[in-house]
């Protein structure tokens, strides 16, 4: 069973030959995968986030121009940037043809989803690829938010893949400074109340009031500058310390002030500066001064003030414990055994957050090799393991988008910054099971030709395959039915 556990639980499912490759030394097979950046397998070309940002910005400018030019034309374009849209991706015909902003970002979203599925289907480092998915879910952004639909997937490819087998601090910094994260959690316009920009605005207002005493300002009320604590709170609660990590509301507020100015380049007027679509520290938005966070004073140091906090968070015992708990939940069991969590957390602290020793501690945990402790697959697990088991690499984004739409896990749209839930209770509804049956029979219909279900069972499940399942496959009325039964068998549905 050790081989099956390595390939099916730690990995993403077995392509023909995977079980044989891991059979000699399953632990060594895993250890060999956790060095170096984890590149995308497959051949779908992807644009970088700054290119996408520029394209979307151009489309937005164009849409605004159109709107100004024809005030009576349908006004959908400008507001589309904030509308929830990723769900329209599966049905491009439904997307308004005259919506230039959506037309600019949707192809990128679709390409990223396709590339992700291809990579999962083809990669020769499936354990490392699963770790990429784990961290993407840990540092969740959601393409549901229109402003980041086009760049949601770039966080995984640009911030996570390079660092997944590196140090946690580098991973953390890359993620929190990625434009998708900044924009998803609204930090780009978070402004210190004593920042240069706020001061300038206040003195202008004062001058105006002095020149026109008693006069009401026409139109909109003057912009009030202040912080937005969203990113700061989620870094603490979801990315590092965990909700019981010992911070208070005043720590959240202080941290939010510390990272004022963490923004994205581009923009106009006083918000000009930086390379469009790349991380940019806006000094003029930053709240000046020393700040106290978790009892420690951080001197004013611009961008470095926030980076110093991240460095301390990255080696905090609460962070080690929180990350260890999530890793053990993902690889061992919905209820993480404390001994395994302890072992992994210790490795985290001992290595100073170097991730390969953390993964090694996980591999060395006897709890992870218990053949009974098996996780119910998420829709993602189910789809990716099916692709690998049947040697399918999808070639069109629609196949992937429709699959995940049906199964209830649209890619890159966990909806909340907490990511997708990682326990079976969140995925095991009876309706969800029925959707899996439907999907399995469609896949079987489409891909049955040339496959021998009994052989697929052997190459994809190995010793996991139960005798009653093999009997059911042999008795099935058709190859299609047999394949659907295999995909829906309890042993295929767990990992």
């Amino acid at each position: 069973m050790q081989t099956e556990i390595a390939v099916l639980r730690f990995g993403l499912g077995a392509r023909p030959g995977d079980l044989a490759a891991a059979a000699g030394d399953p632990r060594a097979w895993l250890m060999a995968q956790i060095r170096g950046a984890v590149e995308l397998a497959g051949n779908t070309p992807l644009a970088r986030s700054d290119q996408i940002f520029a394209e979307v910005q151009a489309a937005r400018d164009y849409a605004q121009e159109m709107k100004r030019g024809a005030a009576d034309a349908p006004a959908a374009a400008a507001s589309a940037a904030d509308a929830p849209t990723a769900n329209a991706a599966a049905a491009p015909a439904a997307a308004a043809a005259f919506n230039p902003v959506r037309n600019a970002y949707l192809p990128h979203y679709r390409a990223q989803v396709l590339a992700r599925a291809q990579s999962a289907a083809l990669t020769a480092r499936p354990f490392a690829e699963r770790l990429v998915h784990f961290w993407t879910n840990h540092f969740a952004v959601s393409a549901d938010k229109g402003a980041i639909t086009g760049i949601a997937g770039t966080l995984e490819n640009e911030a996570i893949r390079p660092h997944v087998c590196g140090r946690f601090i580098d991973l953390l910094t890359a993620v929190e400074q990625h434009p998708a994260m900044i924009a998803f959690l609204d930090n780009q316009n978070s402004v210190g109340k004593d920042s240069e920009l706020a001061q300038l605005a206040a003195s202008r207002q004062a001058r105006r009031a002095f020149a026109h005493p008693g006069a009401e300002a026409p139109g909109k009320p003057p912009r009030q500058f202040g912080i937005n604590e969203n990113l700061a709170r989620e870094i603490l609660e979801l990315h590092t310390l965990g909700v019981d990590g010992g911070y208070s509301q005043s720590d959240v507020t202080a941290f939010a002030e510390i990272i004022t100015g963490w923004s994205v380049g581009g923009g106009k007027g006083r918000l000009a500066g930086g390379t469009p679509g790349r991380f940019y520290f806006r000094d003029n938005l930053h709240e000046p001064g020393a700040k106290t966070f978790l009892g420690k004073t951080y001197r004013e140091n611009g961008l470095a003030q926030g980076e110093a906090v991240l460095a301390d968070l990255a080696r905090h015992p609460a962070t080690a414990h929180f990350i260890a708990t999530k890793l053990v939940r993902h690889f061992v069991s919905d209820d993480p055994p404390p001994a395994a969590v302890e072992r992994v957390a210790k490795a985290f602290l001992k290595s100073g957050g170097d991730l390969p020793p953390v993964y090694a501690a996980l591999i060395e945990s006897p709890e992870a090799w218990d053949a009974d402790a098996r996780k119910f697959k998420t829709p993602e697990d189910f789809v990716f393991s099916t692709l690998r088991s049947l040697s399918i690499s999808p070639s069109r984004p629609e196949e992937v988008l429709r699959s995940f739409d049906l199964l209830g896990q649209r890619q890159y749209t966990p909806g909340s910054p907490a990511g997708w839930p990682d326990t079976s209770k969140s995925w095991d509804g009876s309706d969800a099971l029925m959707h899996r049956v439907l999907w399995a029979s469609r896949v079987a219909d489409r891909y049955e030709q040339g496959l021998e279900p009994v052989d697929v069972a052997a190459s994809s499940l190995g010793a996991y395959a139960r005798p009653e399942t093999m009997t059911a496959l042999r008795r099935a009325t058709s190859g299609t039915q047999a394949l659907a039964l295999l995909l829906m068998s309890p042993e295929f549905q767990r990992r």
């Binding site: 509308a83 929830p84 769900n87 549901d144 202040g226 095991d428 029925m434 029979s441 659907a484 039964l485």
Partner: protein, 416 residues
């Protein structure tokens, strides 16, 4: 001088006597009484709805200053609130809810919160759903525990599932020992019956899978039957619009369909996300206004499709916590504490705002930032479960909501 302050004295109950005139009522056919038991729909708004936008306390002297461009103006002003009782209004997106309020079918709660006092969505939702005072400590939800305690014969059916989650999976509020089904608005057509029979056989040694499969097969039958019975489904062609904003509308229609079916569930839970408005929240128009319009449309769809069942229905609309009293630096609001909730339906003794208003002035706010809660959501839950579902009081304060002696039930939320 008739000052706003006098009306907003702390600790003063505001029980607005809304118009009970039936002029704005639904078509009379909807009031045909079919007998049978009470129906309960719980709508969970995930992400923390801004109660100060949904139910603007426009008469509070600090409201407009704090909420700034996100504030909703007083009734009568352009794009102003829909009037409730002289102190509070409804967001202008709530056309249907307001109509039902005027018809005496809606209670609006304000300055309300679960016992949770930190500001994590995920812990906040856990407390909202597990019925405890802390995020962890139980794997089941209060609504499931209440179902397990339903008096015998109270339901339309003597055995089987009383409740349905309108989603592929069951949310915490409905998890537990009492059997529950789940059904998403997305149809699962054409699953081959022979395949299902063989799967049932393949699952026979695995209780976990076989229980789910038989539930799923049962639910499919219910939704087939129910879609013949629900009046508006036919008119709408049963089509569920794909737009995200209308996903909640599709869920509402699915809930109504299932509740109509023979032996269908009496309790349904609907979830809607997207209320976490940290940036560019908008005011009378904008992002939140669109979401609220979607919610209002879903409530309308629910009422229309429930049709003859509406007079025996109560709909609870709740969220994990409120948002900051002051607008933040990005034209949105951050995580807060006190907020609003709604109880709507033909069985509700409504047309009232229940709010022990703490005020938004300095010193009144919780932690100098949030609306201070003065009513425990569990008080509302207890009252509805007692008066509407007839779960006995002792069970409510022990099994369903342990450690809830501080959350006393209200009285008279439901029509006799």
């Amino acid at each position: 001088m008739h000052s706003f302050h006098s009306r907003f004295d702390r600790r003063r109950f505001l029980l607005g006597a809304g118009a009970l005139a039936a002029s704005a009522a639904l078509p009379t056919v909807l009031f045909a009484h079919t007998g049978g038991s009470a129906r309960l729909v719980v709508v969970i708004l995930r992400g923390a709805l801004d109660g100060l936008a949904a139910v603007p306390p426009y008469a509070d002297p600090h409201y407009a200053d704090l909420h700034r461009e996100l504030a909703i103006a007083a009734p009568g002003s352009p794009k102003g609130a829909l009037a409730l009782n002289g102190s509070f209004g409804l967001h202008p997106s709530f056309a249907f809810l307001h109509e039902r309020y005027l018809a005496g079918e809606v209670v609006v709660f304000h300055a309300v919160a679960s016992p949770y006092r930190d500001r994590s969505h995920f812990d906040g939702q856990n407390v909202l759903e597990n019925g405890l005072t802390r995020p962890l400590g139980t794997a089941d939800g209060w609504l499931n525990r209440a179902l397990a305690a339903l008096p015998a014969g109270a339901g339309a059916r003597s055995a089987g599932e009383h409740a349905v989650a309108i989603s592929q999976n069951v949310p915490l509020i409905l998890r537990g020992d009492a059997p529950v089904i789940s059904k998403s608005p997305q149809a699962t057509p054409d699953v081959d019956e022979d395949l299902l029979a063989r799967l049932a056989d393949l699952y026979s040694k695995d209780d976990w899978f076989s229980a789910r499969l038989s539930e799923a097969v049962q639910t499919e039958k219910l939704s087939d039957e129910g879609s013949d019975a629900a009046p508006a489904m036919a008119a709408a062609g049963g089509a569920v619009k794909p737009a995200a904003a209308d996903r909640i509308g599709g869920a509402a229609r699915m809930a109504a369909t299932l509740m109509h079916s023979e032996g269908g569930p009496e309790v349904a839970v609907i979830e809607a996300s997207g209320w976490d408005t940290h940036a560019n929240q908008g005011g009378a128009q904008g992002a939140l206004a669109q979401r609220l319009a979607g919610l209002d449309g879903a409530l309308r769809a629910l009422a229309e499709d429930l049709g003859p069942l509406w007079p025996q229905t109560a709909v609870l609309v709740v969220t994990e916590f409120g948002r900051t009293a002051a607008m933040n630096g990005t034209r949105g609001t951050d995580h807060g504490t006190g907020g609003c909730a709604f109880l709507a339906g033909g069985a509700v003794r409504g047309g009232r705002v229940i709010a022990d208003w703490p005020g938004l002035g300095r010193g009144a706010l919780l932690d100098d930032r949030d609306l201070r809660p003065t009513l425990d959501l569990r008080s509302v839950f207890k009252t509805v479960l007692d008066e509407h579902m007839h779960v006995d009081a002792r069970t409510l304060s022990t099994r369903v909501f342990p450690d809830s002696s501080g959350a006393r039930p209200l009285q008279g939320l439901m029509r006799a």
